[in-house]
Amino acid sequence: MADAPRDIERLIELMARLPGLGPRSARRAVLHMLKKREAVMAPLAQALAQVALSAKDCSICGNISTSDPCPICTDPRRATGEICVVETVSDLWAMERGQSYRGRYHVLGGTLSALDAVGPDDLRIPALIDRVGKEGTTEVILALNATVDGATTAHYIADALDPTGVTVTSLAQGVPIGGELDYLDDGTIGAALKARRRV
């Protein structure tokens, strides 16, 4: 197979670095864009250039947006007394897709990890404690992953917030919607049983 010209090769190389894409799938994607230059490639290039210039990290919650503070932090309709703590921006976006939560967020930027030497100061935990004190928060909802590192981080945050007197809650754990008991691991079944409720 003949090599593509240098600029196109470079585009393929850059695309191949994206998550979920390898050299072959990057080549397919680039070929698709080249075939649909007007409809796909030009608008994509324009959008990429625009977002590269305008994307900002929200100085309050850590969300990625095009303004600082982000639209969630500046939305007056959102409850100011609740902060939902998430690990990453993708978790924040997942919560927003659910449209069930109408409070504000705080992105930690990861979880505590003894193995990777990630400590509280490497995350946005001091900023969270600061926010809780300043914003008159009444409840902090810990929406962290149900993993050993996620749970360790949740317990650490709960301990750190204890002196502030704020209510600290966490998401429930158990049977997912559409889940079948036969396919669940024993830990999830145990957690679901602990969190059972009256029907």
Binding site: P19, A114, G187
Partner: protein
Amino acid sequence: MEWRDQGALLSVRRHGESAAIIEVFTAAHGRHAGVVRGGASRRIAPLLQPGAQLDVSWHARLDEHLGAFTVEPLQSRAGVLSDRLALAGLNAICALLARALPEREPHPALYAATIPLLDRLERGGWEWDYLRWELRLLEELGFGLDLEACALTGAREGLAYVSPRTGRAVGQAAAGDWADRLLILPAGLIGGAEEVEGLGQGLRLTGHFLDRELTNGGDRPLPEARARLVMLLLRP
């Protein structure tokens, strides 16, 4: 090269987009690492949580290769996630094993002491068992403490201290003016009452030797997970 064994998962690191590199502590093969293909997938990642008991098959073309694991879950130990003390215990055990044990060196006695301790975490009342497990860990690493008799008089009664240099017990009477330079030997470690104050003294004792033997002159401090466990255990 191929073997099959059961063991406790110590650590997981993502490897590329879909794989994970795990470390497992087994009876016959000690701390052993390997790649789990698909280990970052939605199906397998939830099973690969530190502390989980796994049935593992390891294979590689050459013994010195990292090799690949195929894993089957036996017991998740996820019940500790909701209990901060038990979770801190699990983190400390996994972090110390991952840190202290040389790779691929079997420690069947330590394995036999570790698995029941991991199982007890959810039930509570394991604090002194943890302290004795740290003593066992030191022993397995070749730094065992001699708590049988006084280093000075040979007496087996009235032991109250441990020399921070030699790790040998010292009797109350024999310590004399040196007492304040010695580490306190809690009665709970020599058949006496298991009290909270003694637990703190015991953790300081094992902490001193773990620190001395594992930190390589301060280059690599002891895992933060142990410090958090000690803090939680001694919190009023």
